[in-house]
Symmetry: C2
Subunit: 108 residues, 2 copies
DNA sequence: GTAAGTACCTTGCATAGCAAGATACTGTGT
DNA sequence: ACACAGTATCTTGCTATGCAAGGTACTTAC
């Protein structure tokens, strides 16, 4: 999978999963990996950024399966950001598709 | 427009335009900018990479409107790459869309 | 001669993803 | 008791790509 394609996209993916339910980092890796490969070395710095920007808050919760989990919850600002970034992704993706189709349909 | 979204995508956009017709750098900026912002500082290093990897060849052509134009033409290897990268983009974009829709349709 | 449009190019910066490794808790097998 | 696998957190150093800003040079028009 082209690593470059993921740049910026994993952020909206994380925001989108968190819009559905609170998650801890390790869990997010599993959720997102169902569709798109993502590693722990990516998720933790990303979550740190989201917290620094005020899009999420965190709380700790004990686990019987290992060390305590740090859960991430979307803030109101985070919900707005999720909405805006999703729209921007949709616009971007359809621009790319138009360009890829439009420039080849005469040649193909 | 989110700069990060463009990472890796501009390459397939360039390959796709070149699959349709030979272009010079300045012209590619104009073609692609119809859909996606791209600057000259991006296109020239990108074209250099494509040439180094054997996906394009170049030839000079005089112009009455300014300095000579350096045209880029896809090689066979470039056509294969264009096809493969386009498929990969399509797969990637639909994975992202599935993730963005799937994780919110229960919450929305 | 100077400004605007065309056309090429490079340098230095910012960003984000990843491999690899460090830390530590829990349960299982030996 | 010890080792290992699974869970869970985090950091460091590296890589790749896009961009602003700047430089060069040709042509036409004022």
């Amino acid at each position: 999978m082209n690593i470059q394609f993921k740049k910026g996209v994993l952020e909206i993916c994380v925001l989108s999963v968190l819009a559905h339910k609170d998650c801890y980092g390790y869990e997010l890796v599993g959720e997102i990996s169902k569709r798109i490969d993502i590693s722990e070395g990516t998720i933790y710095p990303l979550l740190r950024r989201l917290k620094d920007e005020g899009y999420v808050t965190t709380y700790l919760q004990e686990s019987v399966e290992g060390p305590p989990r740090k859960y991430y919850r979307l803030t109101e600002s985070g919900r707005t950001e999720e909405h805006d970034q999703k729209e921007e992704w949709m616009r971007f993706a359809s621009s790319v598709n138009a360009l890829l189709e439009g420039t080849t349909d005469a040649a193909d």
